[in-house]
Symmetry: C2
Subunit: 170 residues, 2 copies
Amino acid sequence: MRAALLQDLEEAMRRSSAQGVLYGQTVANVAGIANSDLECMDILYLEGRVTAGRLAEVTGLTTGAITGVVDRLEKAGLVRRERDEKDRRKVFISVVPEKAMKIGELYVPMQQAMEKVFGAYSDEELRLLLRFANEGYKGVLAATEALKSLIDTPPEKRPDLKLKKLRRQP
Amino acid sequence: MRAALLQDLEEAMRRSSAQGVLYGQTVANVAGIANSDLECMDILYLEGRVTAGRLAEVTGLTTGAITGVVDRLEKAGLVRRERDEKDRRKVFISVVPEKAMKIGELYVPMQQAMEKVFGAYSDEELRLLLRFANEGYKGVLAATEALKSLIDTPPEKRPDLKLKKLRRQP
DNA sequence: GCTAAATCTCTTAGTGACTAAGATATATAT
DNA sequence: ATATATATCTTAGTCACTAAGAGATTTAGC
């Protein structure tokens, strides 16, 4: 009973997450920038002014790749490079708000759709969703670390991993 | 008040979704396959036996790219190609369960983390989350379509798009 | 039934974002 | 002062992707 609920939930979340990725791809397409470029714009919105190295860390790209990303974004006028005066090795990247706005507008359909969905929930329920989203984030973050640590554990030394059946047969 | 809640929620969901993408990248990395290859494996799990064209549709890749994806996956023994006997133009792709299992195991850290998160919620609450996930999926799907239709609408004819402020200043 | 148009996958040539390795510049430690 | 560490950039090479179209099969119109 509860097991079925959990499985449905997992599947539903996978689906919506995959569709979210697809939305992002479409945005990047329309904006005429690469996928990773858009992802970095997103991070810049969430975290504000960040260093190139931090972008590499968060995206999982190499610093070399980030140089390319920032080059392209800078050329498109979407971001600015600013050397840190205190530590002149560092380069801060920040968005150019006026230009970035045009990309932000491409998220309007998404915002409208979400507004509509959220509209059906009470404040109380939204707080539950928020709590879940935050805990989910922490969980995924921890899982990512766990997976990474699994990499350099030889298979025979790995803790016994029991995979749940992934999909009920339709 | 509610506006702040909605904004927090949006941001939390964006964060967790981004981290989810990163988890997927790590899985692909560990499994030694390309990102899109893993995405297709995922779709094959969710939808079962699907045609090459359907994969292109769902992933947003061209059919040419899908040929490459399936070539690599087939070479790795993860999927099989089967011509449809009724319509011999079609090619069905299906996973080879024994081989795919090894990739499935890489999702165990994620499953464990999610189990832990879900554990803190009652059945009632999980049903709320499920409802939200399903409605969210439909919303994102609709938004994707809306965005696509925006592409071939000349900017001056577009409905007035009011972008909400994306981030509260920290 | 026969031809034309449509549908589905694959092929080919070319492009561009990515990695790995190392160069450069600056900062910190002994 | 020298060595080590840190942060970004450069370079060469690789690989997945797109666009365009070919090949194979099915569907539609006459």
